[in-house]
């Protein structure tokens, strides 16, 4: 959950007005600390006359009145988030609407505090009233402290499917991950769809992925991802000869994208419409975001989410693989989360299982117990729960099972699980004290094995004495 944070930003307003000093599209007001090269970039990137795509579905929502948005890096590394809207008729009377763009510029080091999500900044801009055009601003705008409170927005799976079906959205995401640039024809819901797509990219990578929505393509603002709905022939002619791909999901064959753990992880969240969780998971401060790391992270998340549907034997295997496998520092908490979730799931199942069923997994639990200290710690509560089931079946059953636990372990480990074993043996001893001679028959063998394993244990001695005592009951 993103805690509220204040983002310190410089501002710039780009639009067309007539003033004593001039007229036409330009930066009409800006913060004092906006650098000249940043102003140049904003001037080149901001939409001017007739550059916004005609609005289609004006569904009220978070981004009411926002017709276009953009996110890109500026020279020297600061980031710019811009929202565009109409601000009345073009003032020289030559037809068309006046385009108004409010730009916020902030330090790249502050991006993690927004969960690497430029849409969190856009939402904050709308909440702060920046989507309402200011046509008479002071020439120098103050530095802005923008409260960022809302994490990723929600995207209806129906809306996402209508815009991009699973094959197309995986294709688009894969293209973004391998540094390709795309223009995607989306009829409406540009902002929501763009956010869903961008949240499929690891957070630290997003600063390098510029995007635009709702504005026509221009070579001056050649974003990595552009969502629009415009005449396809015009768009295609503009990108001719450029390394930009035009994608129209309504036409053409569905693409084939090699599936990967990362793509399948993202797709599951898109299918369920859970962009908020997707954002939380992908917006971590990954130190490394290359393909190998993404695959590893995708696999961890996939395995974590598959826990409820994974059978117990397979769960134990998964736990073993992650416990024994190499763990980089960056993934430690992800793996810990997976292991904690696995352990909880196993405990819950063992709690509900009769011993007859739990015994099928006992060997695997014991194997895990013996492998390493970390494995032992993981398996300890599982063993305890399983033995509880065994004790409920019969104390001798628990004692027989516990023998497998204590064999081939070091003295150090023995010391650590004494409580577990003592509980089992204490229960057996209590039972033996109350049992009849006939019930005791057959206990001798078990007792002998325990004497070999734990010769000093007082409970074992007590059981032995009962087994060897003259028949009286």
């Amino acid at each position: 959950m993103m805690s509220e944070t204040n983002l310190v930003c410089d501002q710039a307003i780009f639009t067309s007005i007539r003033t004593p000093l001039g007229e036409g599209y330009r930066i009409i007001a800006a913060s004092r600390h906006l650098r000249p090269d940043e102003k140049q970039a904003i001037t080149r990137s901001s939409p001017s006359h007739d550059a916004l795509c005609p609005p289609t579905d004006n569904t009220p929502g978070t981004f009411t009145n926002v017709l276009g948005a953009a996110f890109y890096s500026l020279p020297r590394g600061r980031l710019c988030v811009a929202l565009s809207c109409y601000a009345g008729a073009e003032h020289t009377g030559r037809g068309g609407q006046r385009v108004y763009t409010h730009n916020l510029v902030f330090d790249k080091n502050d991006f993690p505090r927004c969960q690497y999500n430029p849409f969190a900044v856009l939402r904050a801009m709308v909440d702060a009233g920046l989507s309402s055009p200011q046509l008479k601003p002071p020439p120098v705008l103050p530095e802005l402290e923008l409260p960022i409170t809302k994490p990723a927005g929600e995207v209806s799976p129906v809306a996402l499917n209508a815009a991009l079906d699973p094959a197309w959205r995986s294709y688009v995401l894969n293209a973004l991950l391998v540094d390709r640039s795309l223009i995607v024809d989306v009829v409406d819901g540009w902002l929501e769809i763009a956010e869903a797509l961008l949240m499929g990219v690891p957070g630290p990578m997003r600063a390098e992925i510029s995007f635009g929505t709702g504005m026509r393509f221009s070579i001056g603002r050649c974003h990595r991802l552009l969502l629009l709905h415009d005449d396809p022939n015009v768009t295609r002619s503009r990108i001719a000869g450029r390394p930009v791909e035009y994608v129209d999901p309504a036409l053409g064959q569905e693409p084939e994208t090699p599936m990967s753990a990362w793509l399948s992880f993202v797709e599951r969240h898109w299918t369920s419409g859970d962009v908020a969780t997707l954002s939380r998971r992908t917006s971590r401060a990954f130190v490394n975001t290359d393909g190998t790391v993404r695959e590893r992270v995708g696999r961890i998340y996939n395995d974590t989410d598959a826990i409820p549907e994974t059978d117990t034997a397979k769960l134990l295997e998964v736990a073993r693989d992650y416990l024994n496998g190499p763990k980089a520092e960056w993934e430690k908490d992800l793996v810990d989360e997976l292991l904690n979730t696995t352990q909880c799931a196993l405990l819950g199942r063992l709690n509900r299982m009769p011993w007859m069923e739990a015994s099928r997994h006992w060997h695997a639990i014991c194997a895990l117990w013996r492998q390493s200290k970390e494995c032992h710690n993981f398996a300890h509560p599982l063993a305890e729960q399983a033995l509880t089931s065994a004790k409920a079946e019969h104390p001798t059953v628990a004692a027989t099972a516990a023998l497998e636990l204590v064999s081939k372990v070091s003295a150090v480990v023995q010391e650590e699980h004494n409580t577990l074993v003592h509980n089992v043996l204490a229960r057996l001893a209590d039972w033996a004290d109350r049992a009849t001679d006939a019930q005791i028959e057959g206990l001798s063998d078990l007792c002998l094995r325990w004497r070999a394993a734990r010769p000093q244990c007082p409970f074992v001695e007590r059981i032995h004495q009962r087994c060897t005592a003259p028949a009286t009951r």
């Binding site: 001039g22 140049q40 939409p47 001017s48 007739d50 009345g88 008729a89 020289t92 001056g220």
Partner: protein, 261 residues
């Protein structure tokens, strides 16, 4: 891309004549009208478009004017600019042929480049390669006493001076035709454009005298009569009721006469 391919196929380097000026000064209308008149062999000129794209600008302008509207604002995005590539010559045997490239640039883009060089590198590049330039200045505003046209023109000429001249002691030899647009508002400018400029655009006049070898002033007008209305935002909308081009060809003719010297 099409323009480059056409130029290569001619095996002659094209001459770039840039039409420059502030936003809303009339560059699109002037250039569209000029190209249309050349296409109609006005003043014995012959102009052949190289590529269908070259006709888009004049088609756009003439269509809008025929509907009694001014054409829409030129967007700042370079992709939206019209590029005209024409083969121009006098309609007589052995006349010299000029391959002219004339882009219709957005005034705001020019203003942004002048204010902060390298904002639009394409403009700088075009100007550096220009064989001649036609600078439009709003005579109506200047005649009404506004200093803005003079200041903008001064900045633009100063920018050209910086871009095109390598040594301070040199004067710019590129021919610059200064066109007083919308001169129908101040018809006296037709009688004496140089006098009008010296009076109402004095800063520009002085700059030209000091730093440019080859320049002249011309008055031009496209509209014979204007009507006015308002839109939903109370903006005044001018409507061209009657087209009466005047002084369109002269600046172009002058620049052409200076090319190749």
């Amino acid at each position: 891309m099409a323009l480059i391919q056409e130029a290569l196929s001619q095996e002659r380097d094209p001459c770039i004549v840039t039409v420059i000026g502030d936003s809303n000064v009339g560059k699109t209308v002037y250039l569209g009208m000029l190209l249309d008149m050349l296409s109609k062999r006005a003043e014995d000129f012959e102009a052949i478009p190289k590529g269908a794209y070259s006709v888009n600008l004049q088609h756009n302008v003439i269509s809008y004017l025929a509907a009694r509207q001014f054409p829409p604002k030129t967007a700042m995005e370079v992709d939206d600019w019209h590029w005209a590539y024409y083969q121009v010559s006098r309609h007589k045997r052995n006349a010299r042929i000029y391959d002219l490239v004339m882009p219709d640039m957005a005034g705001e883009a020019i203003a942004a480049e002048v204010a902060s060089p390298n904002t639009f590198a394409v403009i700088r590049s075009l100007l550096e390669k220009s064989a001649g330039a036609i600078l439009l200045v709003d005579a109506a505003l200047a005649g009404a006493g506004s200093p803005q046209p003079d200041f903008f023109a001064l900045k633009l000429m100063s920018y050209l001076d910086g871009v095109l001249v390598s040594r301070r002691e040199e004067r710019l030899s590129t021919p610059i035709g200064v066109v007083l647009s919308k001169a129908d508002y101040c018809p006296e400018s037709f009688d004496d454009p140089r006098g009008f400029a010296r009076t109402n655009l004095n800063r520009l006049w002085n700059m030209c005298e000091s730093r440019f070898e080859s320049f002249d002033f011309f008055a031009t007008s496209v509209v014979g009569a204007l009507g006015y209305g308002t839109d939903e935002s109370e903006n005044v909308i001018p409507y061209p009721l009657h087209i009466a081009p005047r002084g369109i060809l002269e600046p172009f003719e002058w620049v052409l006469s200076k090319l190749g010297r």
